[in-house]
Assembly symmetry: C2
């Protein structure tokens, strides 16, 4: 097996006593294009040489590789890796390969990767948290295959999207918080440039209003940091200084909730507040059983994404795939 160097299609052809075209056809399973005996001879040669097609040659010829890029806004966020793991699995069974990148929510880096993936002839690019950027605008204009997860495309509403009904999820949390009888509510969120976060907050606030909750008793706040743990901690800190300790909390990510909880524990008012997070990480029951959260079926996103890629990332009505969330 693989005596000297890596075998090429040429060596396989020689060994099987056929042309390289025939080898290619057999390997790609082109129907009705090879006699049974030829197929057998080719397969034997492939086996004996331990041959594997060099993807790069194929990619150059077909002008597209089997690489699928996933640009995540933050790899430190377990949500991102949960989705990534799900995508990886769905791609692997289809012979596609995941390229995982971290954009740090930075338009510059997002652009860099969009260019790089185009240079790699990537089959599709999946944006886990898109930000506005020049190259993204251009990619959309050129009709390149891009899929948006959680956050909608900032350029046009008919682009392929996979996520949940964020407004409805926000409203669900609002109703649950009202049910606790809380009198002082705080909403703590990160960047609102994320359509997902903005929609969740809007859904929450709108629902409270509809239910006639006193607007003055609901504070919506954030802190100037991208670290959600820190953000939650500081937000509670500020509320405490304002003498406005909340009795119920809606944190727009579980990480924010962790940070908030820490500060509440330090202040000794841990048990006094009911805390709602977002994402429903499997880790929660273990490390934060006090946390209620909106569970999003991220483990199903991979299949949906892979299927969308198989269909060529079509835009339009059918391109919007909404999954069911669940308050747990």
């Amino acid at each position: 097996m693989g005596d000297g160097r890596q075998a090429s299609i040429k060596r396989v052809a020689e060994r099987a006593g056929v042309s390289i075209a025939t080898v290619s056809r057999v390997l790609n399973g082109v129907a009705n294009k090879a006699s049974a005996s030829t197929v057998a001879r080719v397969n034997r040669a492939v086996r004996e040489l331990g041959y594997r097609p060099v993807s790069v040659g194929r990619a150059l010829r077909q002008k597209r590789s089997r690489l699928v890029a996933v640009l995540a806004s933050n790899l430190a966020n377990p949500v991102m890796t949960a989705i990534a793991a799900s995508v990886e699995k769905a791609l692997r069974v289809r012979g596609l390969v995941l390229v995982l990148c971290d954009t740090h929510d930075d338009p510059k880096i997002q652009d860099e990767y969009l260019l790089e993936m185009s240079a790699q002839l990537a089959r599709a690019t999946v944006l886990l948290g898109a930000v506005k950027s020049a190259q993204l605008r251009r990619a959309v204009a050129d009709g390149r295959p891009v899929i948006y997860v959680n956050r909608r495309c900032p350029y046009g509403s008919d682009q392929p999207f996979i996520g949940i009904d964020n407004r409805a999820a926000g409203a669900d949390v609002a109703r649950a918080i009202l049910a606790t009888g809380a009198k002082n509510v705080a909403v703590m969120h990160g960047s609102l440039t994320s359509s997902a976060t903005a929609d969740r907050v809007a859904g929450f606030v709108d629902c409270l209003r509809e239910m006639a909750f006193p607007p003055g008793r609901c504070r919506v706040l954030t802190e100037p940091t991208t670290d959600h743990l820190e953000l939650g901690y500081r937000a509670i800190d500020r509320l405490l200084r304002d003498d406005a300790a909340p009795t119920a909390l809606f944190c727009l990510s579980d990480l924010i909730a962790f940070g908030a909880h820490r500060r509440l524990v330090e202040a000794g008012i841990d048990a006094g507040a009911s805390i709602f997070g977002f994402d429903g990480s499997p880790l929660n029951p273990w490390i934060a059983p006090w946390l209620r959260s909106v569970r999003v079926p991220y483990e199903d996103f991979g299949e949906a994404i892979a299927r969308t890629i198989e269909e060529g990332c079509p835009s339009g009505k059918r391109a919007i795939q909404i999954f069911a969330h669940q308050l747990i």
Copy 2:
């Protein structure tokens, strides 16, 4: 800019009024091989056309791409993503691209990815938790560039390795646990096929023995599951059933510690035990302030890995890079 379709080097050459070879040279910064005016003309054409070299063409010609594969044994483990993020950053500044894969600690999947990355002409493959497998053995035999992180190469001891002194780390924990005055110690670990885990346990046990700790008072155990949270929970469960509640705990991952802690809390003996984990995730102070842990400078691994790749992944003495750990 980029009027119709993606520009090729040919179009740039035409526009600049030079040959494609000259364009290639200018773009690759081949010294003393182009007049200033030519360089300017080429660069202008590149800018005007919004041209970017197609990596695949280059890769085919050079028989190596700019892809660097990182095969992680488990993407759900924050340690893996921490390393991945660090690698990503170090590669990006060097114009290399990270391909992140999840082998699920499965030799079959590891083999699949090793083959795939060889087909992609990957520049190097980084194994975050290598397992024995046929293709890995072959890769080592063929002298292909592979770097081992945390777990040593199962085939030969002079392969590039990046990690900590695991035996010493285990001993450090042993001394810290003795210092607490604990009388009943338990060690809870996952798969010992991992050289990292095995070394840590061995270092711990050996140190206890040297310090004349009664062997009967130290239980070393595991549970048959790959989920470390579950593992920790069940291990404590078993100890409680055996009426052997530990007063100090060495968990071979922070996740195991989380699981163990949950069970201890349920049993109401939370505060009675001091718990040591491993990895020192930045999340710990927030979600598990009760946890002491061995902090590993994973954020520095990326640079070391990238440098090793730049040097062509040489094997031998200098290939072993040991970082300093810290008990926190």
